[in-house]
């Protein structure tokens, strides 16, 4: 069943259109930066974007910073929201279940397929950005400079980039879990996707509100951009670790709820 789900994901044109669109925006940014040489002043704009003018190899991180707040979560919410509700809407869910595919197994296969999508999307975005970054913005030749101003060895840099990519994937897995839960609740894929997005938008909104400070540590988007801290010298672990813990809890709670709902649900679609 897992192999079947992965085959479905890969053979679906939408998967590749979404990933293509995801890489389009950072690529456009790279082109504009290369043409105008006008970066945001340090400390403003998306993370790493001021640094990439001098060193194109940093562009994968800048690209993740660009797609992370909005585009990546939308793509993940749509794919995960579609996973069960899409089968219900298309009339294929009942045929999978009477094939028979156990409900837990089906849910696990869907989850793995969504994880595969997240991994592919993040890697394609980062990979394309590395390519366009070095091509358009040039390789500084020197060792990259950390956010704190010290230099990092290429080995350190590679290690931290891998950590950052892993952290972004985990954050997206949180989004995927929420969307998957909503996907077991409804037979309309867009409802599930919008449900998850509504939660993220509410979270983003509350984070800007001083009155909601007490809630901040529990909001799902609170630690998303903490991956930038991985490029400080020394690494500022506090928010990263909180982010990992918090996303882990979100994943566990919503996947548990999705399973509890789906395993005992009357499938009337």
């Amino acid at each position: 069943m897992i192999a079947v789900e992965l085959r479905k994901l890969v053979r679906r044109p939408r998967t590749w259109v979404t990933i293509g669109l995801l890489t389009a925006l950072p690529t456009l940014v790279a082109v504009l930066l290369a043409l105008t040489d006008l970066g945001p002043r340090p400390g403003t704009g998306p993370a790493f974007l001021s640094a990439v003018l001098s060193d194109g190899t940093l562009f994968p991180l800048a690209a993740l910073g660009i797609v992370l707040p909005l585009f990546l979560p939308i793509a993940v919410a749509i794919v995960a929201g579609e996973s069960v509700a899409g089968e219900a809407q298309g009339g294929t869910l009942r045929y999978l279940l009477v094939r028979p595919v156990g409900r837990t197994r089906l849910l696990v296969a869907k989850l793995i397929s969504v994880i595969a999508f997240v991994v592919i999307a993040v890697l394609v975005v980062a990979g394309t950005a590395y390519f366009t970054g070095t091509l358009l913005l040039g390789d500084a030749g020197a060792d990259p400079i950390s956010v704190s101003g010290t230099t990092l060895s290429p080995a350190e840099m590679a290690q931290r980039t891998a950590l950052a990519i892993g952290y972004v994937m985990l954050s997206m897995l949180g989004v995927a879990s929420v969307a998957l839960f909503f996907s077991t609740m409804t037979d309309i894929p867009l409802t599930a996707a919008f449900g998850a997005l509504a939660l993220l938008i509410a979270s983003t909104l509350l984070l800007t509100l001083d009155a909601a400070d007490a809630l901040a540590p529990y909001l799902p988007t609170r630690y998303w951009l903490a991956f930038v801290d991985l490029f400080r010298d020394p690494i500022l672990w506090r928010d990263v670790l909180r982010g990992v813990l918090q996303q882990g809890i979100y994943v566990a709670v919503f996947l548990g709820a999705a399973w509890a709902n789906f395993a005992t649900k009357d499938v009337t679609s």
Partner: protein, 308 residues
């Protein structure tokens, strides 16, 4: 093959299926009849473990459902409320994905099984066209092919001829009869009396969630003990038969089953006989009588408020 005891499903205040005791035997072509909304589809969904029963037991192929779904369902082919397929893939790819998704689908024989199933339902030459471009009838045929993929011992088909033209309906009817001859038990849910009458050996009738009839079709259609006579000389015939006949629509119903004696009596009495033979009830008569009788009983009058 299918046995249920006291099968009941309640959706909130709505009693959709009420104490149904199905008994489908091996080799049957069982016609499961009922008006739209009588609970047929909910019952079928409970048999297959899609909807969980509120009360009651289900046995499929002698195993309890839904507990034994993993062992039972690979031997069951199902078509529930219309087919379902991925529109961007070809029919062949759809069947391959579905077959690979669960147990009991041998990989080495998959290609051959898909070819056979597509041929059986008349889709052998459909090519690589995506399912999105299929007509309604082709969709339906693909759904049937999916049900036939592993030569199931039991076929559970909900409205299998939906969307087919008369020629297609005939083909599917012949296919189901052939599969039955080869040993598959067929459970056919339908609201089309004619379809059931032509194909089925056994009939169950569901009315507002309750099973009001379950009987061999031949028993239901037994002669009634009266003889039907069609004649242009109605008044003369009635006078001759002297109270043994009643007028029904355009014919007479005469007490007694000896058609030849009756014919001789009528003809010698100067009555012209156009047609004469034993009266048989049609399935429609039986079903209407059963559902009307049921709606007049006080028990169902209260249940009716709660069932859609």
């Amino acid at each position: 093959m299918i046995t249920t005891t006291g099968l009941t499903k309640r959706f909130g205040p709505l009693l959709a299926v009420d104490g149904v005791d199905l008994d489908v035997r091996e080799g049957d072509v069982y016609g499961f009849l009922g008006a739209n909304g009588s609970g047929k589809t909910t019952t079928v969904r409970m048999l297959l473990g899609l909807v969980l029963a509120t009360k009651g037991e289900i046995e499929l192929l002698g195993e309890p459902m839904p507990r034994s779904a993993r062992w039972v369902l690979p031997h069951v082919g199902a078509l529930v409320e219309g087919p379902g397929a991925y529109g961007h893939l070809s029919g062949r790819s759809n069947l391959a994905l579905l077959d690979a998704a669960g147990p009991g689908g041998d990989r080495a024989s998959r290609r051959r099984r898909i070819d056979t199933a597509l041929e059986q339902v008349g889709l052998a030459n459909v090519g690589r066209r995506p399912v999105r471009a299929y007509s309604l009838g082709m969709h339906q045929r693909l759904g049937l092919a999916a049900a036939l993929l592993r030569t199931p011992r039991l076929l559970v088909l909900d409205e299998p001829t939906n969307g087919l033209d008369p020629q297609g309906i005939r083909e599917i009817r012949e296919l189901l009869a052939e599969l039955n001859r080869q040993g598959s038990t067929v459970f056919l849910s339908s609201h089309l009396l004619a379809e059931v009458e032509q194909l089925c050996t056994r009939v169950g009738v569901l009315d507002r969630g309750r099973l009001v009839i379950q009987e061999q079709l031949s028993v239901l259609q037994q002669p009634t003990g009266r003889t039907m006579v069609r004649t242009p000389d109605v008044e003369r015939a009635r006078a001759l038969l002297d109270g043994r006949s009643i007028v029904r629509d355009d014919h007479l119903l005469v007490t007694g089953t000896d058609a030849s004696a009756l014919n001789a009596e009528l003809v010698s009495g100067g009555v012209r006989v156009v047609e004469l033979g034993p009266e048989r009830r049609t399935l429609e008569d039986v079903v209407l009588a059963a559902t009307e009788a049921d709606s007049m009983s006080p028990r169902s009058a209260s249940a009716r408020g709660g069932s859609a």
